[in-house]
């Protein structure tokens, strides 16, 4: 569930937790004040209200402080995003094809498969192609998501950091069997990956020349 299998897990989780802490603080503050006031100034106890029209210093305070805080949040979000768009030069490119309602993957050497195999600790750049409608390439364990749009080729990269197999989901609604549009990404140690892709290529060649 909270699998951490890529280089993006830590920055995304940290930004999330940072913002959640600030949000919880403000929620508790507001709710706490609300409850305190409701009890303290209940009409049974406090028969006479006082008119206070407002306070400019207070308004400035609660405008400026949240503004600063959201700017900090924005900074973390933006830098985190920036690191997700610029793929390293030595990334291994894989073409991803989405169609109603399945995924397929094509490697640089022409090998195709239904499951995405990637080597451990090697940056992978996926090029996303749609054959029909909008889809979205979503790997929760990697904290990445990118829409797959016809007439456009979006890209996304990641660095797998843990061996295992993880779910690939479609996150953009695409019709009848949208929710069944699963696939798997399998992270293998590099030698095993090389062996797999060599075997697969040999297999394909055998099948092609009967």
């Amino acid at each position: 569930m909270f699998a951490d299998a890529s280089n993006f897990v830590l920055p995304v989780d940290n930004t999330f937790i940072f913002i959640v802490i600030i949000c919880v603080f403000f929620l508790v503050l507001i709710t706490g004040m609300m409850i305190t006031f409701v009890i303290k100034y209940n009409s049974k106890k406090n028969k006479k209200a006082k008119n206070i029209h407002g306070s400019v210093p207070l308004e400035i305070t609660w405008t400026v402080i949240p503004t600063i805080l959201v700017m900090v949040m924005f900074y973390f979000g933006w830098t985190g995003y920036k690191s997700m768009t610029d793929a390293p030069k030595d990334s291994m490119a894989v073409d991803v094809y989405a169609q109603m309602w399945s995924w397929s993957y094509k490697y640089a050497n022409g090998v195709e498969s239904d499951t995405l195999f990637v080597p451990l600790n090697k940056p992978v750049k996926v090029l996303l192609h749609s054959r029909d409608v909008d889809h979205s390439f979503y790997v929760p364990a990697f904290r990445i998501k990118k829409d797959v749009i016809p007439n456009r080729t979006n890209t996304e990269w990641f660095l797998p950091t843990r061996v295992g197999s993880y779910d690939v989901l479609c996150a953009e609604y695409c019709g009848l069997r949208h929710s069944y549009m699963y696939s798997t990404v399998v992270v293998l140690p590099e030698d095993q990956y090389n062996k797999w892709i060599a075997d697969k290529q040999a297999q394909d060649n055998d099948a092609a020349t009967p």
């Binding site: 999330f16 006031f37 406090n46 006082k50 206070i52 407002g54 405008t63 959201v70 749009i149 779910d167």
Partner: protein
Amino acid sequence: MASETLTLHNNGHEVSYLDYQGKHKGLLGWLLSTDHKRIGILYMIGVLSFFAVGVTLGFLIRLELLTPQGTIVGPQAYNEFFTVHGIIMIFIVVIPVIPAVFGNFFLPIMLGAKDVAFPRINLLTWYLYIIGGVLILLSLVLPGGAADTGWTFYVPYSVRTGTNMIFTLTAVFIIGFSSILTGLNFLTTIHRMRAPGMDWFKMPLFAWSLYATSWIQVIVTPIVGITLLMVIVERVFHVGIFDPTLGGDPLLFQHMFWMYSHPAVYIIIVPAMGVISEIIPVFSQRTIFGYKFIAYSSLGIAVFGSLVWAHHMFATGMSDTAEFVFSLLTFLVAIPSAIKVFNWTATLYKGSIKLEAPMLYALAFIFLFSIGGLTGIIQGALNVDLYLTDTYFIVGHIHYVVFGGTGFGLFAALHYWLPKMFGRMYNKKVAKVAFWIVFIGFNVLYFPFFILGWMGMPRRSYHYLPQFQLYHVIATVGSWILVLGLLIMMVNLLVSLIKGKKITENNIWGGETLEWKVSTPPTVENFEEIPEVFDGPYEYKQNEYASMEEEVK
């Protein structure tokens, strides 16, 4: 607005708008009435009926998600359910509800006018609205099936699907037109028909919120109108606009769609904020804290809210510049909402608080809307949004804002103004019990969505992985509690209209705005003579005045 000329007692020759017999009698007297109060009631009947349909569909969706595989229906039916649930709730319920029902009924009264600027256009909007709603209901039963695209109608799926898209799109177009006309009606009313002495900053904050909302309605609704019209044209005439097989760019559709549909969120929430700004001072029996800041923040939301649409598209692969700009603006739009929340909370300070049903709903609004708003901030951060968008997190967020916000604003408004509108009081004890059931059911239903989203559960999914089931079961149980609460609340209100205790006094809650100076229920002409206004809308003259600086000492 305690003003001297406002001793407007009825001398018996003025009849209530409910009993008035004009040119047409009986049902026709309602269906052809141009009285803003009767049109408000017509809208209320329409909106609440569609709300019942929407709730039923939502209930069925939750029932279906009890188990990971099919529970009661197949995937096609499920897809239609969530689509129609979304369309009804967004376009037919929450966008019109507060302006069309309470705005129509109370805006002219609050401004000291006898009607809105264009009464006949006002009636026309209701008919357009009903035609649109009926078209959507028709699309459910006609062969072909209801729309199954999600309420966002994303191209190219909406061009390809074989369902009754044309019905649905036409319906939304017509309702949009109705919304524009309501908006221009309110704008003109506010500009031209305020009572003598009521300058802009003596207007009730509800009127301010409607003013900001109406601008958004007039300016951005045409854009979605033309966009959906183009989808219809594409389907019928195969004109190349968005369809990628004809060279179009599906992302342009998303831009054009959200250019309206994001500001629509503010069309939805700002009037509810206006309602809360009315209720909080009345049940605290003191002047509102920071009147001008609340008024300006409504305008601020309207301006900034129109400029943040593409934050729905962070994962679509826009240019980095666009991601930067829209994320920045998204964070900024949080500020005016925060200002409102702080000012409401400060209004409770040194008040004399009565926890009646409307106040309970208003306080719950602040709590739930805060959760909705803060979870929105979480998604404003780009890298986090790439993970959370299109998951249950966003579904939780939208329900906290739209249902926890506007829904609770609506319930608050119903409990606050219904006695005024019909002259009968509901059972206050039952109302409070219903509130707690609704409040608990709401949180049990929607809070697990945040957890599901963080776990990576995509939205609009008929089928899901087994690890998500626990939270789906909790949410479904929550939906049962919520529906129970809603039933108790609605039955209580409906019964009160027939059997409730009659109210004769004008000012049941101790409000200072003009609607509490007219008789209960209001007369046909609202005012015998147009009142003159001298003070701001929340001046409780019997109170001592103080400034914050003194208080802190």
